[in-house]
């Protein structure tokens, strides 16, 4: 069980515990976990992903920050590189919710979106 990880499933609020490891090229999950939970734990073991939410600077507006999000999850290991990138971003109104602020963010294939309107 080399490289085994103890993970908590967050698919539902129950929070089941499981031990996950690789054996002969297969992901093994030990614990009382449902089908949805197994899918989550497998992904979490192989390549954990997170939706990143943060803010960027707004210029020439009475709002100071624009909340942003990645449309779907990006690899967890990219989170701090993503934060560095966001600290350089500046936007100006008008901005509509869902506008693409950065396409293919950090080459992940996932767009960075505005998560609010900034009208003026």
């Amino acid at each position: 069980m080399k490289g085994a990880k103890d993970l908590i499933c967050i698919t539902c609020p129950k929070g089941c515990h499981a031990r996950v490891w690789m054996e002969d090229g297969n992901v093994i999950i030990k614990g009382e976990v449902c089908k949805r939970g197994k899918e989550y734990l497998k992904q979490e073991f192989l390549e954990p992903k997170r939706i990143l939410t943060s803010t960027v600077v707004v210029e020439q507006s009475r709002s100071k920050r624009l909340p942003v999000r990645t449309r779907t999850g990006i690899p967890k290991r990219e989170i701090f590189r993503a934060m560095d990138e966001l600290s350089k971003v500046k936007v100006q109104p008008p901005i509509k919710i869902g506008d693409v602020i950065i396409p293919n963010f950090l080459g992940t294939g996932v767009d960075l979106l505005a998560s609010d309107d900034i009208r003026d």
């Binding site: 908590i8 967050i10 609020p13 600077v57 920050r65 999000r69 934060m83 998560s115």
Partner: protein, 417 residues
């Protein structure tokens, strides 16, 4: 004399509860309706909750707070609902007279057929905790820090200790870490986290932030600015255990130690408050002890999911609509809801039995397998229950019909099985 206007429904607050109430009232045909909002934009606390996880039930999507609010703001705008921004409600009276003030319209008085309270809640401040020590700068409630970072664009500090593991504290531990601060520890006085498990996993475990259970802050150090705190382990009665003190250097202390429904206005109008929820006693239409005044969302009781807040807003609007149409809301037959020891709080506290009713309740302590019994002929089994997760219990009307009209008390019991 002040100009007096007449309103069918006045809604106080344009957060998720108030907006859902406004949209529902409009949908039912109530057009003489005003939403009062003291902030400069609608949306309430959701504006600063930029993280995702909202709306899974209501929209079957994982939205951020601003996205969730935006859905309702758009609905309200397309319905042409009047939201009076930068306007503070100063007073409401038992006869449903409402006084508001704003820079653009001055003092105004309204005579309202119904009022919906949707003012939300406030954070418990340091003063309510009695932590010894100095009073330096650098002590913030978690929600205040959230506003500073996400809306104003200021970092409150660089090296942070968080007291309390409520959801806002956990969310802020991650937010501060992402923005470059060091979160030294989260201390929780209870032997379990008071936040949702997914937040413990994704906000603390992801960033290897220690969660110190059965710990509290014994003392705050620092003259002008926080320089450190003394953490101490506590026993089951929350008494500090000697020789477990440890000094932790930090420049900021965040407090995430509970939310309190904001009922100053409600009390002025004579609305009776349930000491268990901190919000008004309500019936199954969310009408308070004062006829024509309704309550929904976090001013009624602190929720953990915004979807439930919106549902409550819709129910309160339904009640207010029926009230102005002259229907009495089952005041002929009232059953008092009585919950046993294991239940910390329950809403509604009185029911008519005239309709399907959703009870929202919390258990007092974490429980394993348990069963909830409502009256003699309804039960629901749970594989676990935690105080941090509100239980939603939908009771069909027929259960009440079976009970007979002489029944005046409805017992809710929870038992471990």
């Amino acid at each position: 004399m002040l100009k007096r206007s007449k309103l069918d429904i006045a809604i106080i607050g344009s957060g998720p509860a108030g907006l859902a109430a406004a949209v529902e009232a409009d949908r039912r045909g109530v057009k003489n309706l005003v939403v009062f909002e003291r902030d400069e934009l609608p949306g309430g606390i959701l504006r600063q909750c930029i993280h995702n996880g909202f709306g899974l039930e209501k929209f079957k999507e994982e939205l951020t707070g601003p996205e969730y609010a935006n859905r309702y703001i758009k609905m309200a705008e397309s319905a042409g609902i009047d939201i009076e921004l930068n306007t503070t409600v100063l007073e409401i009276e038992k006869d449903r007279t409402l006084t508001s003030v704003s820079e653009h319209s001055g003092l105004r008085k309204y005579e309202c057929k119904s009022i919906i309270l949707a003012m939300g809640c406030r954070e418990r401040p340091r003063g309510a905790l009695g932590i010894p020590g100095t009073r330096p700068a650098g002590i913030f409630t978690a929600g205040h820090a959230q506003r500073l970072i996400n809306i104003e664009g200021y970092m409150p500090g660089e090296k942070v200790v968080i007291l309390g593991s409520g959801d806002i504290g956990l969310i802020m531990a991650r937010r501060l870490t992402l923005e470059g601060a060091e979160v030294v520890a989260v201390a929780e006085i209870l032997p379990y986290s008071s936040g949702l498990i997914r937040n413990v996993v994704q906000c603390l475990n992801d960033y290897e932030i220690p969660l110190l259970l059965s710990h509290t802050v014994a003392e705050i150090h620092g003259d002008k600015r926080v320089e450190g705190v003394t953490l101490v382990k506590v026993d089951t009665d929350w008494n500090p255990i000697k020789r477990t003190e440890q000094y932790v250097e930090c420049d900021t202390l965040l407090l995430s130690v509970g939310l309190i429904p904001e009922n100053e206005l409600s009390k002025q109008a004579g609305v009776l408050i349930d000491p268990k929820t901190g919000g008004p006693y309500v019936n199954d239409c969310l009408e308070t002890s004062v006829e024509g005044i309704f309550s929904c969302g976090n001013v009624l009781h602190v929720n953990d999911l915004v979807d439930n807040v919106s549902n409550e807003g819709e129910l309160a609007a339904t009640g207010a609509y029926e009230r102005i149409k002259g229907k009495t809301l089952g005041r002929e037959r009232i059953m008092e809801v009585e919950a046993d020891e294991g239940v910390g709080q329950v809403v509604p506290q009185k029911i008519s039995g005239d309709r399907e009713t959703i009870f929202y309740l919390r258990v007092k302590k974490p429980m394993g397998k348990m069963v909830l019994r409502v009256g003699e002929n309804f039960e629901k089994k749970f594989s676990y229950a935690r105080p941090s997760e509100m239980i939603r219990l939908k009771i069909p009307k027929k259960i009440f019909s079976q009970m007979g009209s002489s029944v005046s008390k409805l017992q809710i019991r929870c038992e471990e099985r």
